[in-house]
């Protein structure tokens, strides 16, 4: 059954279009894929000429977040799960995105958007795995 009280189709489509546009801009102008897990992994190494763009992208993300915070009145996320769940889930997201070469942005948008079979399979896999893990832990 659809949860009509929570469903926000207009803002979902608008926000999604902005995300798609940002991914397109980064690839067209800079030749880079907006895969956030890959970009995040870059900050595990010191800034240098070849990964400076990833650092700047993250600075841009945080700056955009601050702007949105003020204009859209975004409240802090309510993470109502245990500390153990936070630790386990954080590790799983880190290990899984590195091992699987991408996350929701890299595979889900940039990968599928380039018609990559690897990304279509990865996205279907983590959607199913996500639904199952939520069902088992909620």
């Amino acid at each position: 059954m659809i949860n009509y009280a929570q469903f926000t189709p207009v803002s979902a489509l608008l926000g999604g279009a902005l995300i798609g546009f940002a991914c397109l801009l980064l690839l067209l102008v800079n030749g880079r894929i907006a895969g956030i897990s890959g970009i995040t992994a870059q900050i595990l190494t010191k800034p240098n000429a070849s990964n400076l763009w990833a650092w700047i992208f993250i600075v841009g993300l945080l700056a955009g977040s601050f702007i949105g915070l003020r204009t859209l009145k975004i409240t802090a996320p309510n993470l109502d799960i245990s500390w153990l769940s936070i630790i386990v889930a954080g590790l799983l997201v880190g290990i899984g995105s590195k091992m699987g070469s991408g996350c929701t942005s890299g595979h889900g948008i940039c990968g599928i958007g380039r018609f990559s079979l690897r990304s279509i399979i990865a996205t279907c896999t983590f959607l199913i795995s996500g639904a199952i893990s939520l069902y088992l832990t909620k």
Partner: protein
Amino acid sequence: MPLTTSKSLFYYLSVFIAGAIFAIGLQVAAMVDPNKVKGFLDVSGLWDPSLALVLFAALVVFSIGFKLLIQPRIAQDSTPLLSASFHLPTRKNIDKPLIIGAILFGAGWGISGLCPGPTLVNLVHFDAKLIVFFVMMLLGMQLAGLLKR
């Protein structure tokens, strides 16, 4: 890397703007809210299809742009507007790390409702649980990187 030093200012400015738009897009779509993401993954309960529309709209914009603006440039051996080359993934094979990685990633995503993008964007709240999640995610990436070698 940028083409020339004179272009590098605009190169990095564009990267910065792309990051900012990406973050605002996540906020507009409410994908920074882990409970909204869980509402989508919760197919057994009351289902919130919003995330599917976010992905759909992002894919429409990106794939049409890719087809019309990027593919022709690649086909003509042309470069991105301000960079020397396109850095695109080259692997095509469906291997074990892809599948196992996606299963593990999905498991963590389902438990928390968080993936790397929203985690970074939410850092501005200085929420203790979120910061621990972020550090654990970095640790996980480091561990998986060591295992690969």
